[in-house]
Symmetry: C2
Subunit: 82 residues, 2 copies
């Protein structure tokens, strides 16, 4: 088995309301050392490489379900052989 981590983030051009809200909350707590906050999500996916090669599997799963390409972009890294 192979563990892959797929990172999904907003495109640079897209405003991140959650990140902005969190930044304001952090400043309200008095943390002015914090200059910016962006939020992202990741998916830890365990794959069986004998059934499909990793790159194809990740591309298909990302495109079919995990990523909204109007707003988001993704990249992935192979974590380890599980």
């Amino acid at each position: 088995m192979t563990d892959v981590r797929i990172y999904v983030t907003y495109k640079e051009s897209v405003f991140d309301p959650q990140g902005d809200t969190i930044k304001q909350a952090i400043h309200a707590l008095g943390h002015d050392e914090v200059k910016d906050v962006k939020v992202g999500k990741f998916f830890d996916v365990t794959l069986d490489p004998s059934k499909k090669d990793i790159e194809t599997a990740v591309k298909e799963v990302a495109e079919e379900l995990l990523v909204n390409f109007n707003l988001e972009t993704y990249r992935y890294e192979i974590m380890e052989e599980a």
Copy 2:
């Protein structure tokens, strides 16, 4: 400035409903090469190290706002000097 990425994940003992739901959806799309899915989030935080040292700032922000320690755990990595 320093960019830090704070990863927040469910504790091992906590059931991940979102990951489970996504796994079922992926299987419904015919991707049986996918064995497991876990979901996490991350915060890209830009910090001014001259105002507070990185480790303290991350610890405070994580404990005061970003992490629900009943369910979640976190770790962070310094991405780069912004």
